[in-house]
Symmetry: C2
Subunit: 325 residues, 2 copies
């Protein structure tokens, strides 16, 4: 059974076929968020802190941390800023983190200060990337996201994307990195542009699970790019990828419709034992008139549910009761 272990200073999470879906909160990322980028450059981390707390409260299993504030000379700014951001986040919440950068020096700098066992996000099949990232992954003994594109770009042929993933797994093995520490991103295309995007990714996920036996992840909301009511498409996509074998996704946990889809699919995939998390989360749920979703409750802790907020020590119901007391 493939098990990818990630950890903060105090909490360990397993990503695996028999585990609840791992929700990697995507919000701490200045890409496309000009205001956040400006704040971070100015040394203001209020939004970062707010995003960290909100995502954990909403049920994120892990948080992705990206400090790519500029496309102009990121090598100069990103290592220090990523370290600063990572330290703020890991001192604030206790979920495991994903170190997200296209700058190898920033990844290395962050690995030096990260507590626990972070996930490196990411390496691709490009030779230069493999040579830069895999020695770090080996040295720090951490898992890595492997994106299935290479020097030729992103292939529209799923067989090529599978072959690229396979090549990365093999290169990892050459570096002494075990397969269970490679989390493959098969690359999700927008369904509005490519009508076959769904079927492609479902077929790829099955092969990645059955043939390569790797854990998988994706930038989930790509699927709905350009369509109206994107959350509806995302919420249908989540159970389908979970059914096809995906074990984690980089997504926004602050959207109740998507998190409800994750929790529902966990029940149906048999990873929410005795429906414990579902029942605790929704037992007092009253749908709005006409059967529409009402505001979803804050995630409620349950023993053994890694995706609940902040661990047993300070998340969920206990925390709220404590706050009242």
């Amino acid at each position: 059974m493939t098990r990818t272990i990630v950890a903060s200073a105090t909490r360990e999470i397993v990503i695996g076929f028999d585990q609840p879906f791992c929700v990697i909160g995507e919000r701490i990322n200045p890409t496309g968020r000009k205001k956040l980028a400006a704040e971070m450059v100015a040394g203001n981390f209020e939004t970062v802190e707010k995003d960290a707390l909100e995502q954990v409260r909403a049920g994120a299993t892990m948080l992705d941390v990206n400090a790519g504030v500029t496309a102009v000379d990121p090598n100069a700014t990103e290592p220090a800023l990523l370290v600063q951001t990572l330290e703020i986040v890991q001192n604030l919440v206790d979920v495991p983190l994903s170190i997200d950068s296209s700058v190898s020096a920033a990844i290395e700098a962050a690995l030096k200060v990260a507590k626990g066992r972070p996930l490196v996000n990411s390496v691709t099949g490009e030779e230069e990337k493999l040579e830069a990232i895999l020695p770090l992954v080996k040295k720090y003994d951490v898992p890595v996201v492997a994106i299935s594109n290479d020097e030729t770009g992103i292939s529209m042929d799923p067989d090529v994307r599978f072959a690229v993933a396979k090549k990365i797994v093999e290169r990892c093995a050459d570096f002494g990195i075990p397969t269970h520490d490679v989390v493959v991103d098969p690359l999700v295309m927008p369904i509005g542009a490519l009508g076959d995007a769904g079927r492609q990714v479902f077929a790829l996920l099955r092969r990645l699970r059955e043939e390569l036996k790797v854990n998988t992840t994706c930038g989930l909301s790509n699927i709905s790019f350009g369509l109206p009511h994107r959350h509806g498409i995302n919420a249908a996509f989540i159970p389908m990828v979970i059914g096809a074998g995906m074990t984690s996704a980089i997504m926004n946990p602050c959207r109740p419709q998507e998190m409800e889809a994750v929790r529902g699919a966990n029940v149906l995939a048999g990873t929410d034992k005795d429906c414990t998390t579902w029942i605790r989360t929704y037992k007092d749920y009253k749908p709005a008139e006409g059967g529409h979703a009402a505001p979803a409750p804050v995630a409620v802790n349950s023993p053994g549910e890694p995706s609940s907020a902040g661990g047993r020590r300070r998340g969920g119901r206990e925390a709220r009761l404590a706050a009242r007391g």
Copy 2:
């Protein structure tokens, strides 16, 4: 490619692997609805008419019609009442119908008056049932729902349920009924009682599609029986069964959350070409604050979408525009 053709007097629908999911509206059924049963016995069909119109407006592809008002001597009451109900419904809406009864004489009586090509719901693997129903199915050249249980009851072993389905398909062939006219119901168990119910049905659906090459259906909401916020479980289950190969379900189309899951899964499975139905249905959709689902719009017709309300002649946007004019 397996194609099951159903039809009303004026509309033909194909159930198939390459078709949008076929939503069979479940509401016209007095089982467990004492008030409706009393009305129907008294010759009052107002609720039946309301349920027919509402379900078609909500996007039902077909309607199930059941007149099982009593468990006491149904043979005496059900044939005439089913005929009466069926005639009222088929004169009111133009979607194809499913004739739902456990009384063989009622099915035969309804087949005599049904227009188009109704679906017979259902036969099981019980010898007595096979002998009673299959000659009718052959005589009237209609498709039939095959429920995978037999004299021994419902097996908890999915291999046995598959074997029962296979036996029914073979018996149908003996009667000259082609495989594409058998729609197998693999039987969905409540996930709250049987933690493996989801994985069982996904595995069964794949085998039914790949090995028997049959269309499939189920009583969808069984999956969430006994759990809180059932619509959330149903809405996660729908994309998962569609991903596993299910082609229709008997369900309540008047629940926006479930119908949104159907439409989203059609997009992702590639059966909503160019996302046409999704875009038309949700292009003006505004989610409520906090990302919760707002009231869903009434189904909007699109060329080639069989699941939209009442056909091009009177459903959807045209009808509403006409009503205004």
